[in-house]
């Protein structure tokens, strides 16, 4: 058990280091750097040189990588080009807002997806399954910005239930952000739940055909007992790692959904940073997203490990 735990944590650390290397050196390979991109083509040599010295771009790349990564670990994310302020300050509030949005999405979306997946899987190809799976396939196929726009069209313009775009600032109190995240979260849930419930459905269908469920039925166990004691626990175990993987989608989807709803989070900040050609800010956000992804996956792995004794032996 301890060996497996250490192995997982070690792998996560290695992945984080590789992400940092990729995020840093991908831009090294590009023509231009933070200064030339930000100052534009008309910048004079002396302006460029001054900017290079200010950002330390005159240092060798390896050294810059080490200081960049070291500063990052100490919570110093560098200076934003466009905003002339420490990135940590700009990113902090927006990170909170995105976490609120992701939190609302997960708290409602994951139980909903698990429930619907089990319902669909218990009667595969029944009318309920057809309805749930049909909507799920639609949700998985259509891009986020179309589902988001449809949400605004239906719930805001036609029904008038909720405001279509978020107008509050990024420093608004948490409860106001929870209110503001209703429609963005609904969009994310619509897609997130579709991915998870398809997996859960498949897993329920598989467990229903297994020998131990047959056995329980033949023993005369009630349908309810078979479902709750035999099918559900076994079918939900694989779902845990799927939830971890789906977080990667959630983090990417957040960028688009936040932009659709004007939600003041990290994703929209990334879009703004690209428009401003603020390379250090884009790099910091990409690294942050990568780290969040690795951590959530590690978390999902550890939960699966605790709940499923079969995973605890070391595999090659």
């Amino acid at each position: 058990m301890a060996a497996v735990l250490l192995q997982r944590i070690g792998l996560a650390l290695v992945t984080m280091v590789i992400i940092a290397v990729v995020v840093f050196f991908a831009l090294e390979l590009m023509p231009g750097d933070a200064c030339s991109v930000n100052l534009g083509r008309g910048a004079s040599d002396s302006m460029l040189a001054a900017c290079h010295t200010r950002l330390g771009l005159d240092q060798p790349p390896i050294w810059r990588f080490v200081t960049w990564a070291g500063d990052f670990l100490r919570g110093d994310l560098g200076i934003s080009m466009q905003r002339e302020r420490p990135i940590a300050e700009i990113v902090g509030w927006r990170l909170r807002n995105t976490l609120i949005l992701a939190g609302v999405t997960s708290v409602i979306g994951i139980p909903l997806a698990l429930g619907l997946g089990v319902l669909a899987g218990l009667n595969p190809d029944g009318p309920l399954d057809m309805a749930i799976s049909g909507v799920a396939i639609f949700a998985m196929t259509v891009p986020e910005f179309i589902s988001g726009t449809l949400m605004i069209l239906v719930f805001s313009v036609i029904l008038g239930w909720a405001a279509g775009v978020v107008t509050i600032g990024y420093k608004a109190p948490a409860f106001e952000l929870v209110k503001a995240s209703i429609l963005p979260a609904a969009t994310l849930i619509f897609i997130l739940a579709a991915h998870i419930l398809r997996m859960v459905r498949a897993s329920v269908v598989e467990v229903m055909q297994s020998d131990f469920v047959q056995m329980a039925r033949l023993k005369g166990a009630s349908r309810r007992r078979v479902i709750w004691h035999h099918v559900v626990p076994n079918a939900l175990l694989p779902a845990i790692s799927i939830i971890g993987l789906t977080m990667a989608w959630l983090l990417g989807g957040v960028v688009i959904v936040e932009s659709v709803f004007n939600f003041p989070g990290l994703g929209r900040l990334a879009v703004d940073a690209v428009a401003d050609q603020d390379l250090p800010l884009v790099q910091a956000i990409a690294l942050l997203f990568g780290l969040i992804y690795v951590l959530t996956n590690l978390g999902a792995d550890l939960v699966a490990l605790i709940l499923n004794p079969r995973l605890r032996t070391r595999r090659q």
Binding site: V14, T15, I18, I19, V22, V23, A26, L27, M30, P31, G32, V37, I137, F138, M140, T141, V142, P143, E144, F145, I146, T149, L150, I152, L153, V157, H195, R198, I242, L245, T246, A248, W249, L251, G252, V255, I256, S259, V260, A270, V271, A273, V274, A275, Q277, D278, L279, V282, Q283, I285, A286, F289, G290, Y293, V294, N297
Partner: protein, 289 residues
């Protein structure tokens, strides 16, 4: 099922048309492709022509789908709006499939430490959401359709590495591969003559899927203002543009949404049918990829 069956065009077509959903998907995709090719000939008006006297007009005989906030003809723009995104998607798919399958097949064939290192890198890069990966490059290179092709080709090739490796692993220990190794064939020759023909079906299905994911990526980027640049009409861009006026001019929003959604849904139906008919494990959209 996955054996060395010849991948000839009539066979693919027969597989596709075997089921109703496949037929529907095939017809939708063909319709889209022919519209995309013929659009410059059949579009009734110049899609970039702005008419201050005809802004936000509802559908009429002169403007079948109405006009947008700059008085441009929505019908002509919808007909032409998929061309650039489809072209980018096609080129990027070719790049993604080429490097992704080459690396995946070689990793599976060589195995050992090289395989482990390659997969760790691919794994790590896939933990950065694709959109941030693309945005990183767009911020550095500026947003242009030309820059998007290699960037998307690279990002989407990562999941191809996975699939090609998994498909190849099924074959590397088979007798015919071992025999080729004993005969002294080089790795390249084994990859091309022994393995590639066997994983071709899986890769072809994956390629079709990649195409529709990349198309979605291009449209999403255009929506965010980082993809196809105006004045070239594009569905994602049209949707972003019409969002502010959806109450007054819903037609400017709905037609590009319908066009893009129908193409992607049609592509999914067709690929599903094709995958089922060839017995290829259909790789669902990898979350995050």
């Amino acid at each position: 099922m996955r054996g060395a069956r010849r991948l000839v065009v009539p066979q693919v077509l027969r597989d596709l048309l075997a089921k109703r959903s496949g037929r529907i998907g095939f017809v939708i995709v063909c319709l889209h492709l022919s519209v995309a090719v013929a659009a410059p000939m059949i579009a009734p008006q110049d899609p970039t022509h702005q008419d201050a006297a005809a802004m936000l007009q509802s559908p009429s005989l002169a403007h079948w789908f109405g006009t947008d906030r700059l008085g441009r003809d929505v019908f002509s723009r919808t007909l032409l709006g998929g061309r650039e995104a489809m072209l980018i998607a096609t080129l990027a798919t070719v790049i993604a499939m080429a490097w992704g399958s080459a690396l995946g097949i070689l990793a599976a064939l060589i195995g050992g430490r090289a395989d482990a290192i390659v997969m760790r890198f691919v794994d790590a890069m896939m933990s950065i959401p694709w959109i941030l990966m693309v945005m990183l490059f767009v911020a550095a290179l500026g947003s242009s359709s030309v820059a998007l092709v290699p960037v998307l080709g690279f990002s989407y090739g990562l999941s191809v590495v996975y699939l090609a490796r998994a498909a190849t692993l099924d074959f590397v220990t088979r007798d015919f591969v071992v025999a080729a190794q004993i005969r002294g064939h080089s790795r390249w020759s084994i990859a091309f003559t022994e393995l590639l023909p066997n994983v071709r079906d899986s890769l072809a299905v994956q390629g079709a899927m990649q195409w529709s994911w990349i198309l979605l990526a291009v449209s999403s980027l255009s929506f965010l203002g980082m993809g196809v640049a105006p004045p070239t009409p594009d569905w994602g861009q049209m949707i972003a543009d019409a969002r502010g006026i959806m109450q007054r001019a819903p037609w400017a929003l709905i037609w590009p949404m319908l066009a893009l959604s129908s193409l992607v849904i049609g592509m999914n139906l067709a690929v599903d049918a094709w995958a089922r008919a060839t017995g290829v494990e259909r790789n669902r959209r990898v979350p995050g990829a």
